[in-house]
């Protein structure tokens, strides 16, 4: 019983997930800062490792404000639901061993569905606040969803179809790397769509600080904002974890027999860090594109390519 609880809440459960997510955020911030000739997180912990945690704690200490005219229930439920949804989704992803915290036949489909639900929560979060910036941001998020959702799904389904399994743990256990040949296309599509999902430059259109301040997030403060930020970090872990599982062979790597429980988490972190590094490179070298340009790009290039990729992947399999 205690072992079960420890597994669910400490390792490789929620605490480990949060720690890993914060680590990835630190990595992202540090890499981008160095690329921009800045120092980045520095004071909290060695090399600023604890900065994301310190930021969260600082947010929790802030005054909790619900703006007048906000839909109180949605305003409170959206951050909680967003956090729960991404955490549950991340629980399916094999982070520390070849099996996720929970695992079932068809869990890959469940993860994809949860990702879509998270995006709907972004919309409700924006629509629940009375600010005009939030409204514009929420509508922008919904518009973007129409563009990148299909490519994201199809790029995952292509891999799943060619592997012949809808169970993430099974894919991870096989440990086969799929970034060459046909799957290079799927990998590229997944990375592009994942950045749109994470609202990172050049696709941070729903937040666009210089245009609509923080978009759908603008009215959130204190623990609500902290939950959204944490959900964003776990989402980064979730999507880089999905990329690792689907395309980079999961946490599997060369290991002397018996050392897997020690080495596999490290392999996973290294592979996820590689994905985050790619994301950081993109973030540091691009400007933000406009909503109409993004939707055009998706429907003109990304969606047809992803359909072609999916069809070929099914045919080859």
């Amino acid at each position: 019983m205690i072992a079960e609880a420890l597994r669910a809440f400490v390792y490789p459960g929620i605490a480990y997930m949060v720690a890993l997510a914060l680590l990835l955020e630190w990595l992202d911030r540090k890499i981008v800062a160095r690329l921009q000739n800045r120092v980045g997180p520095y004071y909290a912990g060695p090399h600023g490792l604890l900065q994301p945690l310190a930021d969260l704690i600082k947010l929790l200490a802030k005054e909790d404000v619900v703006p007048l005219g906000a839909d109180r229930i949605l305003f409170t439920l959206s951050p909680i639901a967003a956090f729960v949804v991404v955490t549950v989704a991340a629980a399916f992803v094999p982070l520390a061993s070849t099996s996720g915290l929970v695992s079932a036949e068809g869990d890959a489909v469940a993860v994809l569905a949860l990702i879509t639900i998270y995006l709907l929560l972004v919309y409700t979060a924006g629509a629940a606040s009375p600010s005009r910036y939030s409204q514009v941001g929420a509508v922008r998020a919904a518009h973007m969803l129409l563009g990148f959702e299909i490519p994201l799904m199809l790029s995952c389904l292509g891999v799943l179809a060619s592997a012949g399994s809808f169970r993430l743990s099974e894919l991870a256990a096989r440990g086969s790397v799929r970034v060459f040949g046909l799957h290079a296309v799927g990998f590229a599509i997944f990375l592009i769509a994942a950045q749109a999902e994470l609202e990172r430059l050049p696709f941070d259109i729903p937040e666009a600080e210089q245009e609509i301040v923080s978009g759908w997030l603008v009215e959130y403060s204190s623990w609500r904002l902290a939950l959204f930020r944490l959900a964003r970090d776990i989402e980064l872990l979730l999507l880089s974890g999905l990329a690792v599982t689907l395309f980079l062979g999961g946490p599997v790597g060369p290991s002397p027999p018996g050392a897997e429980p020690l080495l596999y988490p490290l392999y996973f972190i290294a592979k996820a860090a590689l994905i985050v590094f790619l994301f950081s490179l993109v973030r540091a070298s691009t400007a933000r594109i406009r909503l109409d340009q993004f939707v055009t790009f998706c429907w003109r290039y990304l969606v047809p390519t992803s359909f072609a990729y999916f069809a070929l992947a099914v045919l080859v399999a």
Binding site: N37, V213, A287, R288
Partner: protein, 385 residues
């Protein structure tokens, strides 16, 4: 958007009427910070007024002091040594480089290009350090004084300036290539904020905004005020009429300015740098107008003297004020030229707005109609000095 908004640290209210993501109608309210500098100048002697004029604008402070000193010197008939004019030109162009680099950072910021923003501000440090070397102040330099300049530039400093600027030039050339080639920056700026040449003339756009609409209007060429006839340079003119053209004009001007500074350092005559002027002097009654090409465009100072030691009236027309009507016109969607909400910061940023220098008082009656004052009426309302 505004008066508090991340795109602009100064209080500006951009009123937008939108349909979805499209801007239908727009207006700009820039009168949140009125500092009454023109009035304050009437209560200072001419020498004291210089320090106030310098603080009209932080970034174009050199343009303001150049304009103020030339204006007062013209009014009082003070002869300025030749070398001082050359030194003023060097510092003015250095300030232009600094201002345009800051603007490049602003452009990067409004299109969401964090890295370019950081790099542009890093490179601006080079110029600020040089400014400190020359004048003692990094931003507000306090270099120009009535009758000349405060400090000379010696050979060692000149060498340092040249070597630093050579490095800066390489980087700016890199940024120009980036503006020309980067697909996302181009997608965000090309065709955005269209201002046709005829409209630019009609709305009296000045500076880089006019020059990006194909109008070769540069006070340094049209009405040289320092030693611009003797320093070779080419005004940068683009005819793309959009935000991208304005960016290219400014980056081109950085390179031209660097060339001018190096040329002026090599060719400045030696001699006195300052004519001695008494701290309190009384220019003869009369008036004088001076125009200067500030980094943001044509800057105009007007002074009227009644023979006392203080100006009777001092009037400043900053370039941003001249460019605001053009900005409002650019913000409105017309025909198939749709303005998106995402374009608003780019358009507003493309005129290089500097609002605190621009704020004006509008006197309205109870029905809301604006009242105009003539100089005589203002004089009648003047309290005893």
């Amino acid at each position: 958007m505004g008066p508090q908004h991340p795109i602009h640290p100064e209080a500006t209210l951009i009123k937008l009427k939108v349909e979805g993501e499209h801007v239908v109608d727009a207006d700009i309210d820039a009168s949140f910070v009125h500092r009454g500098i023109e009035k304050a100048l009437e209560h200072k002697t001419y020498v004291q007024g210089l320090f106030l004029a310098e603080r009209i604008c932080g970034i174009c402070n050199v343009a303001h002091t150049t304009c103020y000193t030339l204006n007062v010197e013209g009014l009082a008939g003070i002869e300025v040594p030749q070398r001082a004019l050359w030194l003023r030109l060097i510092v003015e162009e250095l300030a232009r480089v600094s201002s345009h680099l800051l603007w490049l950072g602003l452009l990067a910021h409004v299109v969401g290009f964090e890295s370019l923003f950081m790099l542009a501000f890093r490179d601006r440090e080079v110029v600020l350090d040089l400014m400190e070397e020359i004048a003692g102040g990094r931003v507000t330099s306090g270099y120009n004084v009535i009758g000349g300049v405060r400090r000379d530039i010696d050979a060692a400093t000149a060498y340092k300036i040249k070597s630093s600027l050579a490095k800066l030039k390489e980087r700016v050339v890199k940024y120009r290539r980036l503006l020309e080639e980067d697909p996302i920056v181009r997608a965000r700026t090309v065709g955005v904020g269209y201002l046709s040449p005829s409209e630019a003339k009609e709305l009296l756009a000045v500076g880089p905004v006019a020059r990006a609409s194909g109008i070769a209007y540069d006070i340094r060429v049209n009405d040289p005020y320092l030693v611009h006839e003797e320093v070779p340079f080419n005004p940068v003119v683009y005819d793309t009429c959009d935000a991208w053209g304005r960016a290219m004009v400014r980056v081109g001007e950085i390179l031209e300015s660097i060339g001018m500074i190096v040329y002026a350092l090599d060719h400045a005559p030696s001699g006195e740098i300052r004519a001695r002027v008494p701290p309190v002097f009384r220019p003869p009654p009369g008036e004088n107008v001076t125009r200067v090409e500030a980094p943001r465009g044509e800057l105009l100072h007007y002074v009227r003297s009644d023979g006392s030691e203080k100006p009777y009236r001092y009037k400043v027309r900053t370039p941003t004020l001249a460019n605001l009507p053009a900005a409002i016109s650019m913000l409105k969607s017309r025909g198939d030229r749709v303005v998106h909400i995402a374009d608003v910061p780019v358009i507003f940023g493309s005129i290089d707005p500097c609002i605190c220098c621009t704020a004006r008082v509008l006197v309205v009656n109870e029905k809301g109609a604006a009242k105009e004052f003539q100089l005589d009426e203002l004089a009648a309302k003047r309290w005893a000095r």
